[in-house]
Structure formats: structure tokens, C-alpha cells
Symmetry: C2
Subunit: 515 residues, 2 copies
């Protein structure tokens, strides 16, 4: 893609064509300036085939806002539309008055946006983002908004799971070579939000203020061997240059017979000169077995602090299995299991950046209110599938914590309901008539509102948190999840409920629409 | 991501950190200017779980070249490296002489690149791209090269399969909202190369000179209903604005009871005014059944030419199933099956842009030769897994067509072997000693070389084909595949073989390395 192509492809036309054809239709019928509300939410946590998530980690908002700030219809954009021809007649599809309207008002200066902040744990059917603004413009925003938010939330979630599986040990993201082109940049950021501590991707890591990590590849050893040298020579040459950053990949020839003994020789040399090695990386074979044997050899040589980096087709299940196996087998090999688990570092490429097994999040953007007689009027779409019936109108989202301090439910309520000051709160199952429960004040340690004001009429009214702050938010939220919700397989189902008033409003609307 | 971040993240630092640390190590030991050759190839066709590809469609080269042209170490890039600290000591990791070297030579002006053109059908283990140049620079190129080529090839391949399943009928790509951020732009291009005819993504479609397509969403109908109007009102309002581009989504309420009858009313109105409708879109329910019933109703009303667009969680298997079911059941419903299949159009989102089921291609970039005594000397890495042993040295790739004009094998040979002028060609199975076959001149209708010269010492020596030309290349190559190779499930295994001379060279090297 050359620069001219990028200017067009990454600007306001980074949207689906039908948003623009609908916008002209609204314009022609005088609906384009009607104030509307769209809710963005996802319907189901990612299912990875054999396992599934019990929650998601919200991510992507800052990059959406960066895009919205710059994106507007400029002459070049409108120029393309001006030449667009109808399928059947070859006549021009867009008329000049609409194009002039786009040039003047085709931007996000009148959009009001509330959202759940990045890094927060979120759940299905909860509005993560709420957009209010003129119908035509809010419509055009649908595709880019979903693009920016779906993928980052997907990857942040995967990273959180992998991080939980690794017992919080450092996680390195290195999926650049297998990612979707430049999409990898969003993926790296999302991984860092969700659970990765570092990325191998140099540019985006520096750009985000989180220095990249990396060591060497097999190719380095192989080049030395092709030139008549040995693996040990290659290790020595590397340690020479990086005496204080020496992490050696030990499986080019044979991990236990060649790589490890050679690495230990080099580490001993380093120590004599007053340097401490970082550790070794294992990239093939039975990683649990090799980690135990490597720890044993490193310990015997006096390198109890050297880390052991594991990589090669990892994901949360594989890591879970490795940790389990180490816990069961390390002691028989005279290796302390906890010590070993606490010196492991994980490098994850493809599995993380592509969210392997669930390569997309099903986030949607649905019209829930439209201006009628000067007021926002709840809108909904009936559906054959009960669970697809929308929660209409303007709403607030509350998270309720139990007396242990764990999140027990998210409650979707009407915007003006005063939830925190009630003596008891009845929460309804979103679909089943008969299912509800009542929470007393004494059951509740805290109630907090989840959405915050982000844009008011296009103006940023939110202090964007740093990446580090977003990571702290995620850690705090994951700590406040019930362990059952964090299970990798068959996680406990977290309650997302409706308030009494929202429940009744919805019932009435359904009745009206069916009549 | 703001603009300053993008400049860093999308420039020369769009690579993995270890490429740069290795580059400094080569620099320090005087290896950085040694001429080397890396081969890029993939090991296995994508497997989507229940089904798998028998071939790939090569894509991504032009965008890699665009990136390489601009990417070079500039002051800002080097500035980040200059401040990078070693893990153990906090001392600076990169020394000034290396950084100066990067500023002066850290670009691709000395890279020579041969590649198989975009749009060509390709197979596992065949070098798709061959890079020669100074060791340090060719090393840094690994990650971006794989990023640009892996993903586009993955999606072009998925698009080709979906296009084959749809019997060549128009295929619309609309994955923007579920793709990996800006990676969707590469995905759209790849989809168009591989088999899609249009995309819904406005900007990239215009940028590529392939106008986007789109109609309307459920939301439009839903908005009209919230305002007290009906589905029919919404359809009329839409047809009013787009009389020559009228494609109506008919499943907002009920496809057969409401959407279709209303669409037909609107189409009749259009025809009275001298316009022809485009057709209808079905986005839920049993698409095979509904397509048959829709065709029946449209035919009865005299709209035999109206297209029927199918969308909603499609992929090659679902489309194959729909076409099969139509062929089996349409006639019982007084609908001509061939006529119906030939008026279908497919819209595919998530399944295509994420290559659902196989979200990454395993393309690798391997050192196969390194300068020694002034000459390129074959390099290889032994591996426990036989199939992972490299094909060393500089090579040419030939495709051999049988007397039917179908491709029968790809042959990897030494660079200077004169394959086309032999009376008979012995081709070896790449791994199994005993497996080989001999092709006589009379068995062969054509032999062609697959790689072409792209860059010579950084200079483009290749006329970049247009998107349309790349699409033609793909169509021609897919026509020349044996039908068995195109099967969706259990495809016939296409032969990728080694020449006698390459086979012997490899054997000798393995013997030497093992001794």
C-alpha cells in the first residue's frame, strides 16, 4: 500500500459502503440529524473450541478516539463517492447536496460517547460503548468502532487467560510474523493491556513506552555452524556482546546434550567477569520435562536465578498443562516445583495475536433509541431468538460486589434509576421470566457505575489513562473475579441482569411491537 | 495510536527486537556484511479443522515492497535504540558505532529479491521469496517480510476456496468489523486477489480501484419502525433514493411473510417507473430453503433476474452445502437449480477476513546460504523432524504441466540446472529415499520457472502487475489445478519434488553435519 492509498483507506472511508448509502437515504428523507443512540456490546465470551472464556478484558477505546479525532470527509474522500455509479444504470449514486453535507458535517464533532474504560473486565450483553449523535454520522461510525474495539478486546482477553495460566509470571508477546498485517500493532497493545508484560515488536513497544524484549534465533547458531564454528562459539560471541543481557536459545542442536551444557559454560565465563546471565530459552520438545531438567542442570551449576523462557505453540491450556506437570514431577527430579514455576517466562506468538480458536469477537452496534417528538425514544428489533432482543433506551451499568469484595453481578438499569441508594435490589435474568434474585444492602460491599463520559459533543471530557494505569485496572478487576469465572474450561457463568424498571420497559415495548 | 506513535511503529522498527540484537552481534564480530540467502516458504497448507486446503494463493508482495522502499533507520528510530538498557546491569545495550552503521546502511538498498508473483497458486516447502543481501539487514527483514506475506497468502487462499465453493459467482468481502484493526486493509486486498470480487470496505476498495459494494442494514428498517412506519415504508424510501441500485435486506421481520412480499411490491413500483431492481439479501435462517422460496416468489412476480445475496456465517463448507441442497431440492419447488445457483451472490465477513479455523499461515524465513571464501555456501539446520530439514543453497523452482495442461508437480532444483531441456526429469520425494518418479518429454506439455527477479541491489526490476492482472493470474492457475487438489476435504496431495542434483547436494550436507 503506498501513501496515497493509505490516506484514503485509513481515513473516514475506513467504513462499510452501506453506512454511506444509508446515510444518504436518511439525508434525503430528513432523518440524518435525528438524534439516536447506538449501544455497542458483544453477545458471547470467546469460545476456543475445547475451552472458553468466562469474561473479557475491554480494550481499544484510545485508538478509536485517535481515529475519530482525525477522520472527516475531505475533498479526496468525497471525490471517490462523487464518481460512484449505480449498478443498474451507471448513473451517479451520490448527489451533490449530500456530498456537500458530508464535507461540512461529515465528522464526529457532534458525537457524545460513554464507555467502560479500557482494562476493565466486561461481560456479554453489557453496553461497553454508548454512542449518541446525529443518525447519519452515528451510522457511519459503526464499522470503524467495531473494528477498533472487537479485536483489541479479543486479544486482551486471550492475554489475560494466558497470564492467569502462567500464574502471573512474565509473558512476552511475539506474534508479529503471523499477525494480520498492521493489525499486529493493535494486537500488541491489547496483549499488553490484557496480560503480556513485554512484546518482541520493537516499534510499537517503543511507541507505547514499554521497551521491547528479545534475544536471538536459531539462525544465529546455524550461521556460525555453516562458517565452521560451533554452538558454543556462537553462544560465546553473543555473550561477549551482551554480557548483561544474555539469554541463550538452547535447542538448535540438542537441548540437554548440547545447548544447556554450552550455555552453562558461557554463564560460568560471564560470572567470572562479574556478569550475571539472564537465562535460557526452550523452543521445542517436551517443555515441561525439559524445564525440569534444565532447572536441575542450572541449579547444580549454581545458576538458581537464571530464568527459563518457554516458547513454541503455547496457549493457556498448554501452559496450564506444563505448570501442572511441573508441580507433579519436579520434586522427583530434586527440583522445587514452586521455585521452578516462579522462574518461568512465557513467549507466545500465534496463539495470542490471532486469539487462536476464536479469531473474532462478535461485538455488535445496535440502534436502541431514536429521537421522536424531540425526545430519545427506545427502539428495539424483535428477533426469533429471545436472547437477541435488545435492551432498549438510555441506560446505566452497575457492578455489584459481594461481601468478599468479589464482583457478583453487572446490572443494566434505566439511566435515571438510583441503584446505589436502594435498601434492596431486585435483579432479573435478562430473558427468563421466572428467574430473579434480590440483593440486600448487607449482601453488598460496593456498587460502582461502569460507563464514564468520554466525548461530549465531540469534545474529550476524559483523562486518558496511561498503558500502565490500564494494566493496573485489569489486574485489580481480575483479582476481584470469582475464581470460578477465571476457569479455562467450563467457567462459572457471571450474572448480567436487568433492573426492575428496565425489565418492565422492555416487556411493554415487546408487547407493543407484537400487537 | 497517534501519528507520532505510528511513525515509529510502522517504520523500520516494525520488526522483532531480536533481529536488531542479532544484527549488532554480527556487526561486532564482522559478520554483518557477509552475503547470505534466506528462503521464505510455508510448511503446510492451512487446515481449518474439519477441512483443509490443497494449495495456497500467493499474495502480499507489493505491500512488502512498498514498506521496504520507505523503511530505513532514521534518527528517531536510532534514538529509541540508543536508550535501550540491558536487563541485568541497566547499561546501554547498543553501542554508538553500530547505531551509526544503522543510520548509514540500515535500509534495503542492497537487498536482492526473487519471488513467485502474487496471484500464483503455490505449495508447501517451495521457496516463495528468496532474499540475498548483507547478513545484518537480511536478518532485520525477516519479521516484516513474514508479516506482509503470511497473512495475505492466508486470506487469498481462503477466498479462493470460498470462490470455488460458490461456483465462481460474485463474492463480496465484508469482514471490516471483525478483523484485526488496520490489518483488514491487507485482508481486503488479499481477498480480492484470491477470489472476492468486491469488498464492502469503502476506503481500501477505492484505493485499489475496485469500487466498494453495499446496500443497507437491519438498522434502517428498525429505525423506520421505531418512528411508527413499516418495513414497506423503509423499502420504498430506500428505492426512492436508489432506484437503479436497489438491493433489499428482507429478513428484519420475517423473510417469506414480510420481507419478500414487501420487496416485490417495491420492485413492481420501480419497474413501472422504468427501473430494474438489483435483488434481495437473506441474512438469517435456512439460507438454502429460503433461497429456493425467494427464487420461486421472485420468478412468479416476473423478477427472474433479481439476484439473491446470501450472508451470515458463510464459509466454503456452508456454501458447498447450500449449493448441494439447492441442486437436490430446487426442482421439487419448481425452481430450476442451475438458474438459481447462477443468480446467487455471497457475502462473507468473519470467516474470510480471519481465515476462520486456520488463523495463521506458518510461513518461515530460513538461512540457506552464507558467504564463505567469497562464495555463497549452502547452510542448513539439522532437525529431529525430517520434514524440517532445509533445502540448502541457491535454487530455481519449476512447475511442470502434464499433457492435459494441468500442473503435475513443482520441482526445486539447483539454480544452474537446465531443467527444461532434459529428455527426462527424475523428481525425488523431498524426504523419502525410495520415492521418485521420472517424467519423459512426452509426458510434459510445459515447464515454467516460478520465481522472477523483483529487486536487484534494492532496485525494482519488476513491472508490478495491477490488481486485475493478479486476479487473472489466480484464475488461470486455479483452472490449471487438478480438481482433486481443489477439493475442500481431503484434497489430493500435490507433488513438490527435488531434482537429482539438489537431492544429492542435500544428502552430502546432511552426512557432513552428522559426522
Amino acid at each position: 500500500m503506498n501513501r496515497a492509498q493509505r490516506r484514503i483507506a485509513e481515513g473516514i472511508l475506513f467504513t462499510d459502503m452501506y453506512q454511506i448509502t444509508m446515510a444518504q437515504m436518511y439525508f434525503r428523507h430528513g432523518l440524518h440529524n435525528k438524534r439516536v443512540q447506538f449501544d455497542h456490546f458483544y453477545r458471547a465470551n470467546p469460545s476456543y473450541g475445547k475451552h472458553e472464556a468466562g469474561f473479557c478484558v475491554n480494550a481499544g477505546l484510545e485508538w478509536l478516539l485517535d481515529w475519530m479525532k482525525d477522520a472527516r470527509f475531505r475533498d479526496k474522500d468525497v471525490g471517490y463517492l462523487r464518481n460512484h455509479k449505480a449498478r443498474k444504470s451507471g448513473k451517479l449514486l451520490f448527489e451533490e447536496d449530500f456530498l456537500q453535507y458530508l464535507l461540512e458535517y461529515g465528522n464526529f464533532d457532534n458525537i457524545t460517547l460513554r464507555a467502560i474504560p479500557e482494562g476493565r473486565v466486561v461481560h456479554p450483553n453489557v453496553p461497553l460503548t454508548t454512542v449518541q449523535g446525529p443518525f447519519a454520522i452515528a451510522q457511519i461510525l459503526e464499522s470503524p468502532l467495531l473494528n477498533f474495539l472487537n479485536y483489541q478486546t479479543l486479544v486482551a482477553t486471550k492475554a489475560a487467560r494466558i497470564h492467569v495460566a502462567g500464574k502471573g509470571r512474565p509473558l512476552l508477546e511475539f506474534g508479529l510474523r503471523r499477525a494480520q498485517g498492521l493489525g499486529t500493532l493493535a494486537g500488541t497493545r491489547a496483549a499488553l493491556i490484557g496480560g503480556a508484560d513485554f512484546s518482541s515488536n520493537a516499534g510499537i513497544s517503543y511507541a507505547l513506552g514499554n521497551a521491547p524484549r528479545g534475544t536471538h534465533a536459531h539462525c544465529m547458531v546455524q550461521a556460525f555452524m555453516a562458517l565452521g564454528y560451533t554452538e558454543l562459539d556462537a553462544f560465546r560471541a553473543y555473550a561477549d556482546v551482551y554480557p548483561d543481557d544474555c539469554l541463550l536459545l538452547v535447542d538448535t542442536i540438542n537441548t540437554l546434550e548440547s545447548g544447556l551444557p554450552n550455555a552453562i559454560k558461557v554463564f560460568e565465563g560471564l560470572r567470572k567477569k562479574g556478569h550475571e546471565p539472564v537465562g535460557v530459552r526452550l523452543d521445542s520438545g517436551d517443555l515441561a520435562y525439559l524445564a525440569i531438567q534444565s532447572a536441575k542442570m542450572l541449579n547444580k551449576a549454581g545458576f538458581e536465578d537464571a530464568v527459563i523462557v518457554l516458547s513454541n505453540a503455547l496457549d493457556e491450556l498448554v501452559i496450564w498443562q506444563i505448570v501442572t506437570q511441573i508441580r507433579e514431577e519436579a520434586a522427583q527430579n530434586d527440583v522445587d516445583p514452586d521455585n521452578l514455576v516462579n522462574r518461568l517466562v512465557y513467549g507466545v506468538g500465534t496463539g495470542l495475536i490471532t486469539s487462536e480458536g476464536a479469531s473474532a469477537l462478535d461485538g455488535v452496534y445496535k440502534l436502541v433509541a431514536i429521537e421522536k417528538d424531540g425526545e430519545l425514544f427506545p427502539a428495539m428489533k424483535l428477533s426469533g431468538a429471545k436472547e437477541k432482543i435488545l435492551n432498549p433506551g438510555h441506560k446505566k451499568i452497575w457492578r455489584i460486589y459481594d461481601t468478599r469484595g468479589k464482583a457478583t453481578a453487572d446490572l443494566i438499569a434505566l439511566y435515571d434509576e438510583d441503584i446505589p441508594n436502594r435498601d434492596k435490589i431486585t435483579i432479573h435474568h435478562p430473558i427468563e421470566h421466572t428467574k430473579k434474585r434480590t440483593l440486600l444492602k448487607s449482601d453488598i460491599s460496593q456498587i460502582e457505575e461502569l460507563q464514564v463520559d468520554i466525548l461530549k459533543d465531540g469534545k474529550l471530557v476524559y483523562d486518558l489513562p496511561t498503558l500502565e494505569e490500564i494494566r493496573e485496572t485489569r489486574k485489580r478487576d481480575i483479582d476481584r473475579l470469582d475464581p470460578g469465572v477465571k476457569r479455562f474450561v467450563n467457567p462459572h457463568f457471571y450474572h448480567v441482569s436487568l433492573s426492575n424498571n428496565l425489565w418492565e420497559t422492555k416487556e411493554e415495548l415487546v408487547k407493543k411491537l407484537k400487537s
